[in-house]
Homo-oligomer: 86 residues x 2
């Protein structure tokens, strides 16, 4: 299989798997089971992957990790917004 | 920064961020909030990333995604083991 197609399919699958968590948090407005330290570590790691993809000039890595950064930034914003309720 | 060091740091951060979920499930033996479809999609995507890393001969991608596959396979096993209790 072409490497780029493989990377894009892999990126779509790992990105899609993060959506249910975000949808759940937005619906239930409940973040007591989430760890903000974990979200921060994840955002740092994903951002480094974007940087790695830029250095290596690999579009599948840049796109899938940039998308994952956006999803997890949204999670972090939800965490800050809903934290008092929990 | 050297690309490989960058990739290894990125891989360690994104891998470490998955541990709290596994620890939580093993401690609480409760999986009712987990989606097995999400875990299966994630394992498929991560396995494709390992394959991508092998094709591109990039060790940071192979190692971090192989580790993530192991963590999520453990989650899936916990899911199957604790599912009846939930």
């Amino acid at each position: 299989m072409n490497e780029n197609i493989l990377g894009i399919v892999a990126g779509i699958l790992t990105s899609v798997s993060m959506i249910p968590q975000l949808v759940k948090v937005i619906k239930e407005k409940n973040v007591k089971d989430l760890s903000w330290i974990m979200i921060l570590i994840l955002i740092s790691g994903l951002s480094l992957w974007v940087w790695y993809g830029i250095l290596k000039n690999e579009l599948p890595i840049i796109l899938s990790n940039a998308f994952a950064v956006l999803v997890n930034l949204s999670l972090l914003i939800c965490y800050i917004a809903f934290r008092k309720k929990s």
